[in-house]
Symmetry: C2
Subunit: 188 residues, 2 copies
């Protein structure tokens, strides 16, 4: 058993992200990450399966947060309201960790394997949202399409947030996208 290291997980995450940004994801080894963090490889593998999972470790918790928001929506909520509640919960969390989330996205955008992994995680989030809506009585096809539309809103808002740092917050950008979505069926 290794000795207890204060905030080992956070230190490993920070070191990994710095190295991915500085030298690229492919060029970074677990040995380099642990060296920068001042920890052992043994400690690394106690927290993460591999260097890729450092980037995706949070997505399960984010999915649970979104599912809980759908479950907690009032009975009067439309399917889109449920998805809006989920996005609101998730985006508040991302906004808090702004700098880290932005760096993470830069790393992912630069690597095809990571982009594919990110798409798989987003597909899992979409499925989880659709399942949560079905449990609230939403019809299957509507649930599927509303969840996928939510992912679109997230993607577009995220791009704007990444591309325009220091301007509007992610929750604000998501609200703008949801409003724009409402004009889709209106006159110009």
């Amino acid at each position: 058993m290794g000795r207890w290291e204060p905030n080992a997980r956070g230190r490993l995450e920070r070191a990994a992200l710095e190295l991915y940004v500085e030298h690229g994801f492919e060029q970074t080894t677990v040995a380099k990450i642990t060296e920068r963090a001042g920890l052992t490889e043994r400690t690394f593998f106690r927290h993460f399966a591999d260097k890729r999972e450092v980037l995706f470790a949070g997505s399960g918790a984010m999915r649970e947060l979104c599912v809980a928001a759908v479950a907690a929506a009032p009975d009067s909520a439309t399917p889109l309201d449920m998805v809006a509640a989920a996005l609101d919960a998730a985006s508040a969390r991302w906004e808090e960790r702004g700098e880290t989330v932005r760096k993470r996205q830069t790393v992912i955008d630069a690597n095809a394997e990571l982009r594919e992994r990110e798409l798989i995680k987003l597909a899992a989030l979409s499925t989880a949202l659709a399942d949560a809506m079905r449990r609230r009585g939403v019809a299957e096809l509507t649930a599927r399409l509303t969840a996928e539309t939510g992912i679109v809103v997230l993607k577009v808002a995220f791009e704007r947030w990444i591309g325009d740092p220091g301007q509007r917050s992610l929750p604000q950008l998501i609200k703008e996208c949801l409003n724009a979505l409402g004009t889709m069926t209106g006159s110009r």
Copy 2:
């Protein structure tokens, strides 16, 4: 100059698709494709840049068809009506070539590189749709979101069409998805 070969392009496409389904995309060489089609490699490269482009050669024409449909939509059309017109035009074309389109999708779904390429083509279609809508006076964010929502409808309808051959037509499935989208903001 090679001699003129009747419908060389179509014969190459058919041979390639058969081989991709039978042996996998990676295992198939241009030499095997031309052998099966009874044509030379020289003829192959007159029609396609490489074996991957056999699968994506039609996407430019499909994009133009969609853009033309948006341009031709009546002045009273909402942004979603414009996208619906585009999907209607595209899906009628796919429905005609049903068996080929289904085989093509099976090949793409089985290969990560091809899936990434497909996503790039879909992103290009989304951008083209958004641009076409902006030219019709739709605000930027609404155009972007409506185009992306159109891609979602296409994706969901396509999956159902592929997974359920011989049942409803692709244009019908797209109509069902657009209707379900309309219930997104309604009560359950």
